[in-house]
């Protein structure tokens, strides 16, 4: 009995025909062509299947007197009519290369994952005379990196299930396509509550202070999208906790409450085996990653950790910095169990302020840490408009040429004019008036 096949080889994968418009691959060219005719070159008016986009365009204009603007069901950047595609013919070289590269990357990732799971040597290595140990000679950090990327991708795919994957066009067919900047951290979902400072983690139900008594409808149905990164928050909600969110990156997912004291040493000396299967899905599992130097968060001293885990008494090995907090207001101590949201917030803010005061150096390390984590993504994205607090209209309203100084004596209905209006009237005509005041 011969060896069991473990799936297609790289060459077989590369040889598969695939569709330029949607990046799907097929068993053979005939199927690809019929796919294109059915999905991309079908006239939606009369159902006629044409051979090419050009043909469909001519058909639309001649038969239906309409102009085709884009190829149906295509990925957004592939919907152009300019490229004449038939089967695999006409696909631009650079796109072929990108595709091949992606196939190769995916193949290697799948292989690395299989090796990690089964411990088997890569396909063919036993036969080819190469010693089976060859993978071990391979750069270990490379392997770790790939594994981490793959896991990140998997975690991301999970996250996208709620928001990205439902794209009607099927734009999410390749996972490398269009990642949002936030998804880089999405695999850190366990740390989600951290931006709210110490108050958050084990008490997840209070994670959103504004909407604490939030109705049945919302986030609970939608757990993946409910987790988001600090960038998604308004500064009001987390500006008081500058020292908190970032250290969270380096720590393992919040531990069950009972273990809170214990993890301190673990954080700093994580298991070195990145392929440890049980830890799959959580990024901190690969702390040896070269491009995440700050991940181990060595600066997190016991006091900070204590802060992060909501101000429970420091362990016996507590550091001197913690001692200075002996006079800490009880509100901060009791914050998590306080029933009042306000107490919670102010307590967390206080704790965070204190933490920030103690932890100036780690903050510098955090900012450098952020960059490498962004690099982990295969594709960057750039927001054309990224101010999450001020709408474009408000910005426009601040431009001098749109400035408006309200006249309190105008035809207003309200009797009591706000003081702002009174002072506003005294401003010169050239004053830029901030309409959001």
């Amino acid at each position: 009995m011969g060896k069991k096949r473990r799936g297609p080889t790289l060459e077989e994968l590369l040889a598969r025909p695939w569709c330029y418009y949607c990046e799907r691959d097929f068993d053979d060219l005939k199927i690809l062509i019929s796919h294109q005719k059915a999905k991309h070159f079908k006239c939606e008016r009369c159902g006629r299947r044409l051979n090419t986009a050009g043909g469909l365009s001519v058909h639309m204009s001649q038969v239906h007197k309409e102009q085709l603007s884009a190829v149906d069901n295509a990925l957004p950047n592939r919907s152009s009519l300019e490229v004449e595609i038939f089967g695999m013919e006409g696909v631009p070289d650079d796109i072929i290369q990108t595709h091949n590269q992606r196939v190769v990357t995916q193949f290697h990732q799948a292989e690395a994952e299989r090796q990690a799971q089964t411990g088997n040597p890569p396909a063919g290595s036993g036969v080819g005379g190469q010693p089976a140990k060859r993978p071990k000679l391979e750069n270990v950090s490379d392997l770790k990196k790939r594994l981490a990327e793959h896991k990140a991708k998997k975690a991301e795919a999970r996250t996208d299930g709620s928001s990205g994957e439902a794209t009607p066009v099927g734009a999410g067919q390749t996972s490398t396509f269009g990642q949002s900047p936030t998804t880089a951290t999405s695999n850190l979902q366990h740390t989600y509550p951290q931006p709210y400072g110490g108050a958050g983690s084990p008490y997840q139900q209070t994670a959103s202070p504004v909407y604490q008594n939030f109705s049945p409808g919302g986030q609970s149905q939608f757990p993946p999208s409910a987790q988001f990164t600090p960038s998604g928050y308004s500064p009001q909600s987390f500006q008081g906790t500058p020292g908190q969110p970032m250290p969270a990156y380096g720590t393992p997912p919040p531990f069950p409450q009972q273990q809170q004291q214990q993890p301190t040493p673990q954080t700093q000396t994580p298991p070195q085996n990145p392929a440890f299967p049980q830890r799959s899905g959580s990024l901190p599992a690969a702390p040896g990653l070269p491009q995440r130097p700050a991940v181990g968060a060595p600066q997190v001293n016991a006091y900070q950790l204590q802060q992060m885990h909501m101000g429970h008494p420091a362990p016996a090995t507590g550091t001197p910095t913690g001692v200075t907090n002996g006079d800490k207001p009880p509100g901060a101590e009791n914050a998590p169990i306080s029933s009042s949201v306000d107490d919670l917030i102010s307590g967390a803010a206080k704790a965070a302020d204190q933490a920030a005061a103690h932890v100036a150096p780690p903050k510098a390390a955090e900012s450098t840490e952020e960059k490498p984590s962004k690099k982990d993504k295969s594709k960057q994205s750039r927001l054309v408009y990224s101010d999450n607090e001020t709408s474009p209209e408000e910005k426009m309203a601040r431009l001098s040429r749109y400035a408006f100084v309200p006249n309190p004596l105008g035809e207003t209905v309200l009797e009591a004019q706000p003081p702002a209006a009174v002072t506003g009237a005294e401003r010169g005509p050239d004053t830029v008036f901030d309409a959001t005041d």
Binding site: E44, Q67, S69, A70, N73, P76, N77, S163, G164, A166, T167, P168, A171, G178, Q179, S180, S208, V210, Y211, F214, S215, P216, G217, G218, Q219, Q221, F222, S225, G232, S234, Q236, K379, Q380, S381, R382, L383, V384, Y385, S386, D387, N388, E389, S391, P392, E393, E394, M396, A397, L399, Y402, F404, P406, G410, E411, T412, V413, L414, E415, P418, T436
Partner: protein, 354 residues
């Protein structure tokens, strides 16, 4: 350009803030508000009733840029909101303007509820003003909001307000109406009204626009980060499980995904599909039920500020004007124009789930 699309003559001279078709059946009247301080009324039909070039029939000057406009009980009655902090009622036939109320900051949006005879305005002073139109001269009720409102949309029964900090409130219009009727008479009525539902946006970034489904079942919202979410009002778990979001209005340039804000959404009154317009100048039609893109139109020369379907669903008006981008002090240069597309019988119809 395709022959089934034309450009309106005499467009506004500055960026467009809102564009609305008259809700009257078969009407082809369009109201447009602009940063050039004017509200424009266009009519697509000429004297013979043929839809052609479209012409400007009236223009109303305001004291400051106008941020929103909506039609009232008839198409001769419009309501405007703008940076002069005022909410105005304009009678198109007599050109008379009445200030209904003044906010304490720019007024972002204004909507009219035919069913409840209410005009609701939302301002950056984080309040709603609810005006009872059936009781002229009455003092509006002021409802405080937790954050600055960015967009507002209503159905026959619900009012959806998207605000900063990803907050979203859904008010029951009937309750609002009853409440304001009760409180009428006293001086500035400040009322704390508990919304029917408080939600957190399912999008991670600032909400740009909300639009309600014509069948009163739910709404779509869009964010500055090229994403659209579709959700349902019904708080039951089954309905909430149906909600989803998808990416759109993105372009890949030099291996970087350039993500544009989705400025505007509008539902088709007949088919229940919706159009989205983005900062990339692209307008796309979506089937929110089948979760499919129906079509995407050729890129417009600059950012799409507003889209709206006519009440019979035969026309789609697209307001194109320069948008505000990151890293620029001022708005980017670009032409201001209004395109009107005549839609084919099935052009905006969903294809059905496959």
């Amino acid at each position: 350009m395709a022959s089934n699309q034309f450009i309106l003559a005499s467009p506004p001279t500055d960026a467009i803030s809102a564009l609305k078709f008259s809700p009257d059946p078969n009407s082809t009247r369009i109201a447009v508000s602009s940063w050039d301080k004017n509200v424009y009324i266009y009519e697509l039909r000429d004297e013979n009733g043929n839809v052609g070039e479209g012409k400007l029939i009236q223009k109303f000057e305001h004291r400051a840029p106008v941020l929103d406009v909506c039609f009232g009980a008839t198409e001769d009655e419009i309501y405007t909101a703008g940076l002069d902090w005022d909410v105005r009622k304009i009678d198109v036939a007599t050109s008379s303007q009445t200030v209904l109320s003044s906010h304490e900051a720019g007024v972002r949006s204004v909507v009219y509820s035919k069913e409840h005879q209410l005009v609701v305005s939302a301002s950056w002073d984080s309040t709603l003003h609810v005006h009872r139109i059936d009781a002229p001269g009455s003092i509006p009720s002021i409802i405080p909001l937790p954050s600055k409102p960015f967009s507002m949309s209503l159905t026959a029964t619900k009012l959806v307000i998207a605000m900063a900090s990803r907050a979203l409130h859904i008010y029951d219009l009937k309750a609002l109406s009853l409440l304001t009727a009760q409180l009428d008479g006293t001086t500035p009525n400040k009322v704390e009204v508990e919304p029917w539902q408080r939600r957190e946006s399912s999008l991670k970034f600032m909400t740009r626009c909300v639009a309600c489904m014509p069948d009163d079942a739910g709404y779509a919202s869009s964010s500055i980060e090229g994403r659209v979410a579709v959700e349902w009002f019904d708080p039951s778990a089954e309905s909430q499980a149906r909600k989803y979001a998808f990416k759109c209005h993105r372009q890949t340039a030099d291996d970087v995904d350039v993500v544009y804000p989705v400025n505007t959404l509008s539902f088709h009154p007949v088919h229940g599909t919706f159009a989205s317009g983005g900062g990339d100048g692209v307008v796309a039609l979506w089937d929110g039920i089948a979760k499919r893109r129906i079509r995407q139109y050729q890129k417009y020369p600059s950012s799409v500020a507003a889209v709206d379907f006519s009440s019979n669903g035969k026309y789609l008006a697209i307001a194109v004007s320069p948008g505000f981008e990151d890293g620029k002090e001022d708005m980017v240069e670009g032409a201001v124009s209004i395109y009107v597309r005549e839609l084919g019988e099935t052009e905006a119809k969903g294809k059905g789930a496959k």
